[in-house]
């Protein structure tokens, strides 16, 4: 087991003491001190995880990429600081890191065997726990391209503007507008199709 993975007990709990101990060594940017980071993390971690899990359809991968995104965010010398640049800029930068990590993941070869597919992928398939949005949205999202899923999530779940999405995705605003328009048409058709099928079933 690598020594890096053997954590001190204090770090395994969200106690303020553990936090100070971790950040107190001065490794982080002075502007990104422990309390500021903890507050930023509590506001941004869940939306980031939601973005990653809906884009990748893999909760385990979303966990890994979320942690890696924050570690890179904290380690990057050019990352925006909360005090100077504000939380919006920091959040966009974080989403950009996560998008790049997702892109890198998709560029790598796919799992070759069934053992490598995460268990959550199968365990979340039970119909009993699925809500309306999962029943309609998940099959539709699975038919979309990864980039389309990212665009739609950023626009409609996170409510980002075209300019903000362009920053996150590393594309121009004009490209985002066109890609989003197409993706919206496509998913609307996919979402309407099961509803129309169900209506026909009820009438006949």
């Amino acid at each position: 087991m690598p020594w890096e993975l053997t954590l001190p007990e204090t770090l395994l709990h969200t106690s303020p003491g553990g936090l100070e101990q971790a950040a107190g060594a001065g490794a982080c940017d002075p502007a990104m001190q422990n309390e500021a980071f903890a507050a930023f993390y509590s506001r941004s971690s869940r939306p980031l995880w939601a973005y990653l899990v809906r884009s990748s359809a893999d909760p385990a991968l979303a966990d890994d990429l979320m942690q890696e995104s924050y570690v890179r965010f904290l380690s990057a010398p050019g990352a925006p600081s909360l005090a100077a640049d504000g939380e919006t800029a920091a959040r966009l930068y974080l989403f950009r890191i996560a998008s790049n990590l997702l892109r890198d993941h998709w560029r790598r070869p796919r799992p070759a065997s069934i053992e490598e597919v995460p268990e959550e992928f199968f365990s979340s398939r039970s119909d009993a726990a699925q809500t309306d949005s999962q029943i309609l949205l998940e099959p539709a999202l699975r038919q979309m391209k990864p980039r389309e899923r990212q665009l739609l999530w950023l626009a409609h779940a996170e409510g980002y503007s075209h300019r903000e999405i362009a920053k996150v995705m590393g594309l121009s605003s004009a490209s985002i507008r066109l890609l989003l328009f197409r993706a919206r048409r496509k998913i609307a058709d996919l979402l309407r199709a099961p509803a129309a099928t169900a209506a026909l079933g009820r009438n006949s």
């Binding site: 770090l11 709990h13 869940r46 939601a50 899990v53 609307a188």
Partner: protein, 172 residues
Amino acid sequence: MKLTTCPHEKEVRQSIASGQWPAACPPELRAHVAACRACGDLVLISVAFREARAESLAAARPVPPALLLWRAQLRRRNAAVERIGRPLLGAQIFALATILAAAVAFAGFEAHRGVAWFTWSFWRDGLFSAASQWNHLNSGSLAALGWLLPITALATLALLGGAVVYLATEKQ
């Protein structure tokens, strides 16, 4: 594909974002959404994605932030160690090159003195006479050192060279 946008889209978007859709919206807007394809798509997608977002936010189990701070600290420290280690590696390579140059210079000097390093007879005669020279050495004859000295020097250089190569490659 033609990009057609509806002038009411912004209004629809705002009403969804503020949670007014559909109950707190004016009936005209609801009627417009029912008739307009672009606004209908917008409502359908936005509502579905917002519900999915709420479900995912509830399902998220983020790790303690201290863990991430600690990992980031480790990574920065490793990067710093890597930066510091670069000149050390250069010094090790320089030491190896110096030893190799010394060995080559020594061999060249011996060859210039008339020692035929690359002939079979040199090594054969040397091995056969080693025992007798050792006896001479034991009996106190310093003349025997004439042959043993270059061999000892070469062995020392080889040993030092091996140590330097080990130190240089240890990091990898």
